[in-house]
Symmetry: C2
Subunit: 413 residues, 2 copies
């Protein structure tokens, strides 16, 4: 049986919309990797009485409770007191707590003394634990039923404390429950969910359920179908692939796996020794930024010419003035010249080019907001296409980029 | 008194880390804008019994409960049943529900019939409400104490339903409670939090508290100090600015307001009729992408030369081979030539250039991961600087970009 776990995130800045929480998303992913589920995430305010009651309720309900935030030195940091109240313990001076505070400070070349803060004050029956990337110690508490694991809310401190302190404790305490779940992600493209499960393969969901828990997740390019189980070994994976290959869905599958398009592109280009580049107008640098998010991209990615103005398109990419006048910046003609220009200027094997209308202004009846002209130029030929997407400016930039990177991946494969 | 409100997000995909929730962050911001707080956010699994109990608990605890997700047609969509159970109502065929389903389908040129799904089945005493951006109707329930407002979890459907259906209901029901809170954000840079409140102005927090609720939020560039109150009018804002100006903190303040750097840059460049461009190595297109996220950026942003390879730096920006050999790609010498080259090639008034080591590889003792060489070239002079940041690849790209955009804003101001 899997452990019941909860994450309590303490922070008014999240409830007030000033910060977007990242600890919940990060912990959900990390726990999935080690085979633990997350039963609930709560984002709550730093009110002492409410917190204390919540901790108490969760101690009765969950086996493992992660807590993020409220361990700092300022007045609104009440987590420690609430933990003490919830477990009916007093906060006392703790030499072990003082040791941890000293250790954390020493790591930054600083000396800790009790004058600085109350990091040495620890609720009875709690252990202060090291904070490898910060100053405030974390706290750990166990009773016969539950375990409380409290870390500071700063994302890098929280993440490091979970990885280097909490997970080792959990692995020791629950050696059987912590095993990696395995999953196979079947990435499809350009086919709607209803068509897959309604028309193309009405039995697929049922058939896949024989291998594990099935879920489907819409992405920009199409639907990802995910199968998860503790024992999804090589043989079972092969069986699933065979199952898909026996259906018409197979031609819509572009990846069995969960690498991102930028990861796949860099991997493929490295394997084949091919260099890549791009010319971006409407995506404005986003496609290049996504590729350069990948470590090692510099080995194959030459660069991108972000030519937002027509003038830059002419001067830097050699797009002809006449092409721009006759067909406009958002046209297959222009974008082909952009791709060819980028390939030449960046001296690379493959170049892609984007020119489109991300809005909110700039649309027309003929070319509404959401229109993308895309081209790909390789050693043998140049290809171009005009397509349409829906969405606001940021969504459109992302969709345009996703489409183009997918086409680049196809060309590299 | 403000209303107690909660948001319940239903979705295994979030607890399993497959999707990062955006509805919580969005709603927190929207509610703040209309003067409502958010007391709690809960992310829970779609288990019928648990959900029903949770809804019941929340009905006893909160005045307004927003619910996101689980209203779709598939088997794991159990929100409707849980709502019925929690309020001891039966789900019945509803002509009003059928009307809403028909209306939603018609908007997409489709006809709804009861064969398609059970959108017409609505718990007694609930109202089905229109879904302006989707097919599944939302649900609204009121008893003497509480209000349940349920929308589909798809972000654009959720957002639109809150804006066009739920908020109007709340405004009608609670005309006094819904008033816009006002805030003043004091953005500082290059000074740590301890120094502000510890050394520079130890009374500031207390003094600001006379105007409203004070909070401080660390950002990449520095600390944002926020003062919020219902009555923060022009006069009080001026008093706060005066108060800051009487302290040494004033020279560290770069904005009274909450516009992003890209917004400020585009605004300033438009006002002054100045054109801008850039050359990016380590930021790899990120800085350009952030500027082009802003509608209207095309009026002043000429483009960016993302030159990842040395070859591209030479060929496209005119960086001298000797400079690269003598000083390396990450040097003030190289980055100055990049900025000058970008200004010339993109034909713009101001150009910035980035060359640095985002890691994880590529660092050395002399120039470790996190080193950034930055330059800015304008009509009168070229300035360059070598600085160091900490963080992983993505954080470093972001910090590099933030530093450079800030310097560009300074130059435009």
């Amino acid at each position: 049986m899997s452990l019941s776990t909860a994450l309590i995130i303490i922070g008014d800045e999240i409830l007030e919309g000033r910060t977007r929480d990242s600890n919940g998303y990060w912990l959900a992913r990390r726990l999935k990797e080690v085979g633990l589920g997350l039963s609930e995430i709560l984002v709550v305010s730093d009110n002492l009485a409410d917190l204390s009651k919540l901790f108490k309720d969760c101690l009765a309900k969950y086996r493992v409770i992660f807590i993020s935030g409220g361990l700092g030195p300022t007045l609104d940091d009440v987590t420690k007191q609430a933990l003490a109240d919830a477990t009916s313990n007093k906060i006392l001076e703790s030499s072990q707590g003082a040791e941890m505070a000293k250790e954390n400070y020493l790591r930054y070349g600083k000396e800790w003394t009790p004058v600085l803060n109350s990091y040495h004050m620890v609720p009875e029956n709690f252990n202060a634990v090291t904070n490898p990337k910060g100053l405030a110690p974390g706290l750990v508490y166990c009773n016969e039923n539950s375990m409380l694991l409290a870390a500071p809310g700063v994302p890098w401190e929280f993440e490091e404390m979970v990885d280097s302190v909490f997970l080792p404790i959990l692995k020791k305490e629950f050696p059987k429950q912590l095993k990696r779940m395995q999953e196979l992600v079947i990435c499809t493209r350009f086919i709607p969910e209803e068509k897959i499960f309604g028309e193309l393969c009405p039995n697929l969901w049922k058939d896949l359920s024989a291998f594990g828990k099935v879920s489907s997740l819409p992405q920009v390019l199409g639907i990802n179908i995910i199968v998860r189980a503790a024992d999804l070994d090589e043989e079972k994976r092969d069986q699933i692939v065979e199952l898909i290959n026996s259906t018409e869905l197979s031609e819509y599958v572009w990846q069995y796996g969960s690498l991102s398009l930028p990861e796949l592109i860099i991997k493929k280009a490295c394997e084949k020794g091919l260099s890549i580049g791009m010319a971006e107008s409407c995506t404005g640098g986003l496609s290049a930024s996504r590729l350069t998010d990948i470590p090692g991209s510099s080995a194959v990615f030459m660069g991108s010419l972000v030519t937002y103005s027509n003038q830059a398109k002419e001067k830097l990419l050699g797009v002809k003035e006449k092409t721009l006048l006759d067909h406009g910046a958002v046209s297959t003609e222009t974008v082909e010249e952009m791709a060819i220009g980028a390939r030449e200027k960046l001296d690379c094997d493959f170049a892609i080019a984007f020119s489109g209308i991300a809005g909110p202004g700039g649309g027309s009846d003929e070319k509404p907001v959401g229109t993308l002209a895309f081209a790909l130029s390789g050693p043998n030929q140049t290809y171009s296409k005009l397509i349409n997407y829906r969405g606001d400016r940021l969504k459109l930039k992302n969709r345009f980029s996703e489409f183009g990177l997918f086409k680049l991946l196809e060309a590299l494969s």
